[in-house]
């Protein structure tokens, strides 16, 4: 048991950036095809990252690199906790800590673009946080445990059977977490936004490369949560879960390419409405069947 935990954590630490980077490459390829372009090689994200690494070492202050380093570190820790099968709430709170480090890094520069990006990032966090917590609560209610290793226990079956609303709600806020249009408010992979590079305006070279790597780690971990909804401890369940993860990611790419960016008001309104309707109603049904029936 302990051995498998160690292996899966090590596998995550080594493989997640590779798979995450490839996923980003495939993302760019598919996006390009959707726009009628050929698109770059699927290894392009790695080339970009290596290029960033070789840039001149500059920074706007002495504190920023520390915060960005902590951001990457705690993103890795978040995923590590997740793949070690620990408490889902612990995972969520560690992710929050990591995200706050990123925001703090942007704030520390005292630059207008970075700060507006940071405020928007914060707004996005406020938008998705309720749905994330409701997701954890929902998984706990149907499986009886917050421990990820128990949630995928074969006895519990597929969580999505009881949590269709919460699953849809979670996929909705994934658009924010994957930094996809229409909700790529704080920073964007496309250089066409009004905030220059938003949150990341003042990060350069290696620091920027660290942000990219953290993003890859984070994406894999987020897909891991999607995995939890489907997996039921069997092999076919795991295969189905991976397929659902890929389909979800494809849908996010599709959304990214079919919507223009929206105002921040729409981001928070829609996320909270989704959490109140899909999340709340789903929870109500669970409570009703659990405690009343």
């Amino acid at each position: 048991m302990n051995m498998t935990i160690i292996i899966s954590v090590i596998a995550y630490i080594i493989l997640a950036p590779i798979v995450g980077g490839l996923l980003a490459g495939i993302d760019r390829k598919i996006s390009a095809r959707m726009q009628g372009r050929v698109g770059p090689s699927i290894l392009q994200p790695f080339y970009d990252m290596f290029k960033l690494m070789e840039k001149e070492a500059i920074t706007v202050n002495k504190a920023q690199d520390f915060y960005v380093g902590c951001f990457l570190f705690f993103i890795i820790v978040t995923g590590g906790f997740f793949f070690a099968g620990l408490d889902l709430l612990l995972v969520i709170f560690t992710l929050t800590l990591a995200s706050v480090f990123l925001i703090v890094a942007a704030f520390s520069s005292n630059s207008p673009y970075a700060q507006i990006g940071a405020e928007r990032e914060l707004l996005q966090m406020m938008a998705y946080e309720p749905m994330v917590l409701i997701t954890a609560a929902g998984l706990y209610l149907v499986t009886g445990s917050f421990n990820i290793s128990d949630i995928i226990n074969p006895e519990n079956g597929m969580a999505i059977k009881f949590l269709p609303g919460i699953f849809l709600g979670f996929v909705f806020i994934l658009t924010i977490k994957f930094r996809k249009s229409p909700f790529d408010l704080s920073m964007s992979h496309h250089g066409h936004q009004e905030l220059v590079k938003g949150l990341t305006t003042e990060f350069a070279g290696k620091t920027m490369a660290l942000i990219e790597i953290a993003h890859w780690y984070e994406n894999i971990f987020l897909l891991g949560i999607v995995f939890l909804f489907i997996a039921n401890g069997t092999v076919w369940g795991a295969v189905a879960a991976v397929v659902v993860c890929l389909v979800t990611y494809f849908i996010e790419i599709l959304i990214d390419n079919s919507y223009a960016r929206m105002k921040w008001q729409i981001a928070i309104n829609s996320s909270w409405i989704v959490a109140i309707t899909l999340g709340f109603i789903n929870m109500l049904v669970i409570y009703f069947s659990k405690f009343v029936l």
Partner: protein
């Protein structure tokens, strides 16, 4: 026993000494010596009863009872007089209802009831005494330097510091009495003293606003006091006891009248803990000098309210109407106050709303009334006391040095006052980030809510937490911003103030590191006694020991990381990107028409979403409906 007497009476002696000896030098000595002695005595009490855990004391004394009655009458006369003098007749009316009822009851009924144990110590009261004795007295030390500055800034006002310190120490003594009284009449006596102390502290500056706000606090708390008196009358006449432990025992055996007593006492707790619809008194209290706010918010006053509710928790829960009332009021207060905090830029107001919200969480935990919820509630009390006092005192120091308590004016504090900014960063992080204290207890509360709180409370905590994250992080952002070319003015901070701030910062971190120990040696044994019907072997805490260990390790890492890596970079420092050519100082740029434009950055407040007024109206209406509804049903049961 003697330690208990010391803790109640010694602060009173210090108070009188502070009132009589009026020089700065004498005050400095008395406050420092008394604060040390009280802190040592509270630690000694913890040490004395660490093994025993729980003990009741007879301490029957007719003179004491008589003395308390006389003081109560005198205080009532004073309130009636002040109410008439300042044309706040409601205060006079409430006092005129409350005290005569109490006297009538004591003469008619109370006198004939034999009280076996007047005082007691258990692990919860030890925790409370430690909070009062350490946090409370360290705040009075801070007040020495602060009030000197304050007097300096307000030269036009008469120096009323002797009275200020008199009330502060009286407050500490009354709080100790409150958490150590088993006789409900004694508890009520101390309860009323704390109400009056806060009235005088809030009205300290005697401006029109201060007087209005102090009367608002007085009236709301007297209203709770009326509830308290009715509870005592019902308790004495239909249950035939005046002892808190007897009341709780009877409640567990399902004696029907206990429901009414519990509901009324919980109501008194709700007023004192500044829950909606009564939250406005605590917000009004920020007109007082900052040490007052720190005292009211962390170790005294509001903590008396939540202490009573946590104490009553075994009688609450879904099976009792009182329990449903308490958890709903707490839950609504948590979410509405968290939302309202987003729209505030005044640092003290943000802190006040955050206190109201956190108290809401504690109250809701008490209302749910399971051992897991109470565990979370007690942890919240501990962490909140330390962190909130630290933050209030930081804001006080910032205000005296930069001349503003507005968060927008704290730009570049990290460069101007690096030490103070660091204390604040620790304090703010400790309010909402893993692996620090408040998050740990909120985590436990969340789990208790999901288990036993019902779906509404889960929604409240999910949305409330999101808002909490928002308003703390944006403040944190202001704190970490590094602005070049700012003068360092840290040396202007008074030595005493700096000592207190650094001590509280260290305490914040240490308590986070040792909380698994506190849980194991203090809270869990208390829960085993308080919930005798739960088998200790099956007591599963909200946080498994694995999670607690992980939290502690994470904290170690977070302490080590900055020591190793913060600020260590060999990279070339370049100017930031501005909306035009940066003029080199990172603070101005050349904009359109060759104009030099200064950079000014402001936070988001989202007034349209989280306007203070709107949140208060919604919260007050919802809680008034719940409270009146519950009492209407209870009253319907009687008639």
């Amino acid at each position: 026993m003697s330690t208990i007497t010391f803790l109640i009476l010694f602060p009173l002696l210090s108070a009188i000494a502070l009132l009589v000896l009026r020089t700065d030098a004498a005050r400095g000595v008395i406050v420092k010596v008394s604060a040390t002695l009280i802190a040592v005595a509270s630690i000694y009490l913890a040490y004395q009863y660490f093994g025993i855990g729980e003990e009741y004391f007879d301490f029957a004394n007719e003179t004491v009872n008589l003395g308390m009655t006389v003081i109560e009458v005198l205080l009532a006369i004073m309130i009636i007089y002040l109410g008439i003098k300042y044309k706040k007749y409601l205060a006079s009316v409430l006092a005129a209802i409350q005290t005569p009822t109490m006297i009538w009851f004591e003469v008619k009924v109370g006198h004939h009831i034999h009280v076996t144990n007047n005082l007691y110590v258990d692990r919860l009261s030890i925790i409370m005494v430690l909070i009062i004795g350490i946090i409370g007295s360290i705040i009075t030390v801070y007040a020495l330097g602060y009030m000197k500055d304050f007097q300096h800034h307000h030269k036009d006002q008469p120096d009323r510091r002797p009275f200020f310190f008199f009330i502060m120490y009286l407050f500490l003594g009354a709080m100790c009495g409150l958490v150590l009284s088993n006789n409900i009449v004694w508890l009520y006596f101390f309860w009323e003293i704390t109400t009056l102390c806060s009235f005088f502290l809030i009205g300290y500056t005697k401006t029109e606003e201060a007087i209005n706000n102090s009367f608002r606090a007085l009236i709301m708390n007297l209203l709770g006091g009326v509830g308290f008196v009715i509870a005592i009358v019902i308790m004495g006449s239909s249950l035939g006891t005046l002892e808190l432990n007897q009341l709780i025992m009877m409640g567990m055996f399902g004696v029907p009248a206990v429901t009414y007593v519990a509901a009324l006492l919980a109501f008194a707790g709700i007023t004192k803990a500044a829950q909606m619809p009564f939250n406005s008194w605590l917000l009004g209290a920020m007109v007082a000098p900052t040490p007052t706010s720190a005292l009211l918010h962390s170790s005294t006053m509001v903590k008396a309210g939540v202490f009573l509710i946590i104490k009553l928790a075994p009688l609450l829960g879904w099976q009792s109407l009182a329990g449903i009332m308490v958890m709903m009021v707490g839950g609504i207060t948590f979410i509405m106050a968290s939302f309202a905090a987003v729209s505030q830029s005044n640092a003290k107001k943000v802190l006040a709303y955050s206190t109201v919200a956190n108290l809401g969480l504690i109250v809701a935990c008490g209302g749910i009334g399971t051992y897991a919820a109470v565990w979370a509630g007690i942890l919240l009390i501990i962490f909140h006391a330390i962190t909130k006092s630290l933050l209030f005192l930081c804001v006080g120091t910032a205000e005296h040095n930069i001349g503003s308590r507005d968060i927008e004016d704290m730009d570049g504090l990290f460069t101007r006052m690096p030490k103070l900014a660091t204390y604040m960063i620790v304090g703010i992080s400790a309010m909402f980030l893993a692996p620090l204290g408040m998050l740990v207890s909120k985590w436990a509360a969340m789990k208790a809510f999901i288990d036993n709180g019902g779906v509404l409370l889960v929604m409240f905590i999910a949305f409330g937490s999101a808002a909490t994250l928002f308003y703390w992080t944006k403040w944190l952002g202001k704190m970490v911003a590094i602005m070049a070319n700012r003068e360092n003015i840290q040396s202007g901070v008074n030595k005493d103030e700096n000592f207190v701030l650094s001590t509280l910062t260290i305490l914040t971190v240490i308590v986070c590191l040792i909380f698994p120990l506190i849980s194991k040696t203090m809270i869990v044994p208390y829960l085993i006694k308080a919930f005798p019907y739960v088998d200790p072997k099956h007591m599963i805490l909200a946080l498994s020991s694995t999670n607690m260990t992980i939290m502690v390790i994470m904290l170690f890492v977070l302490i080590v990381l900055p020591i190793l890596f913060f600020g260590r970079t060999n990279k070339k420092i370049v100017p930031i990107y501005l909306a035009g050519a940066n003029l080199g100082d990172d603070l101005t740029f050349r904009g359109a028409m060759e104009k030099e434009v200064p950079v000014s950055l402001k936070n988001w407040y989202m007034e349209g979403y989280f306007g203070e007024k709107k949140m208060n109206v919604i919260g007050v209406i919802a809680t008034v409906v719940i409270i009146t509804g519950v009492f209407a049903i209870l009253l319907g049961g009687v008639l």
